[in-house]
Symmetry: C2
Subunit: 222 residues, 2 copies
């Protein structure tokens, strides 16, 4: 019998053009290490099976050519139907409707099957657009907070928080906050001892206090 404490095995992440690299690679690196000692499977979902790039138009002003591409394992149409956890990154791509249209639809349809949904940075804007966050507490990137709030005013946006938990939805603040989010979530599901050992192995100093967020003041959202 599966209880709330039964750890998941099947995890999915969503990619779209212009995703923020660390939003997804911070949490995934920790889960990569966890997969050495616990059975875990990863599905990487995108609109097509083509590699998905972090590139976005912001770089054009400097003639920069600095981006990375990650290879999906499934399309939204061929996603496994047994994913228990979905992780949604943010990034400049979330601001372009054509980049995330299929993502929002997929999240809306898949969310009822999930045991947990985690977002990093402006990934919570995608979740907000899907309607899944209506009436729920959530946070997001602090530098982009004003834009995120406009995406859905029916969400109870929390300005000062490293991360926020409401039911089975865990939303984190910007970019690096996703790493603290994943350790907190692992502590909840696999236990604090596992989370601490992983963090020490990765030589990472966790912020373990979800309310400790100096970036809210830094970016003027409180």
């Amino acid at each position: 019998m599966m209880t709330a404490k039964t750890p998941p095995k099947n995890i999915g992440v969503l990619l779209f053009p212009g995703f923020q690299l660390l939003d997804i690679c911070g949490p995934l690196d920790v889960l990569n290490v966890l997969a050495n000692t616990h059975t875990l499977n990863l599905s990487i979902l995108a609109a097509t099976l083509d590699p998905v790039t972090t590139w976005h138009a912001q770089q054009e002003s400097q003639n920069s050519n600095f981006s990375e591409s990650i290879v999906p394992t499934h399309t939204f149409a061929t996603a496994p139907d047994d994913l228990e956890v979905l992780i949604i990154p943010g990034g400049f791509g979330t601001r372009r409707g054509e980049n995330v249209e299929g993502v929002v639809e997929f999240v809306r349809g898949y969310y009822p099957k999930l045991r947990w949904c985690l977002t990093v940075c402006t990934g919570s804007a995608i979740l907000a657009k899907s309607g899944v966050l209506d009436g729920k507490r959530a946070t997001s990137n602090k530098k982009a907070f004003a834009w995120v709030k406009e995406q859905n005013t029916g969400v109870l946006w929390v300005p000062k928080a490293r991360w926020v938990v409401d039911g089975n939805i865990w939303t984190s603040s910007g970019i690096s906050a996703g790493i603290d989010l994943i350790y907190a979530w692992i502590a909840e599901v696999w236990g604090e001892e596992t989370a601490s050992y992983l963090a020490d192995s990765s030589e990472y100093e966790r912020n373990k206090d979800s309310g400790d967020d100096r970036f809210a003041e830094r970016w003027g959202v409180v």
Copy 2:
């Protein structure tokens, strides 16, 4: 005229099967953001142009299938000859000779052309094998420190350090330490104001003290 303080434009990273995802994505995410305001070009080098996976045999014991693949832009044979900076990740792949043989050769040949060489985690073991670190000070992953030291005893290995600078070589401690390394290096090259703004934008709490390293004690290397 190019001085030591002239910022670089052309950065390369090396990938090999079984690289540690955060070793490379932590630094690259910061540089991705820097590329929005400064001209930067990235080359991703590997043995072939096939996507390079983080997967390693460690996962087999748990029947896990949890990895990511990044797409290279060049092979070692077709690498641009104007790279100014090379970033070398670590990971379980560094322990398998067949995974990194071409990497070690490439580093040995290319290093004289570089203005800076940065390593994260056991990436310093690759640099040590290449001979480039002979007689130089360097650090590495603390949990793997004993193994790393065995790769080249002619290196002046520093057990307690978040990162170490010797000439144009910057080596960091394990996994997450690469993020502190890249911010420290950016502060050196582009200035502290730029580094601080980037860190605040990424909502990252830097460790700015290269000697502050509690993981040396945690993993018993001092």
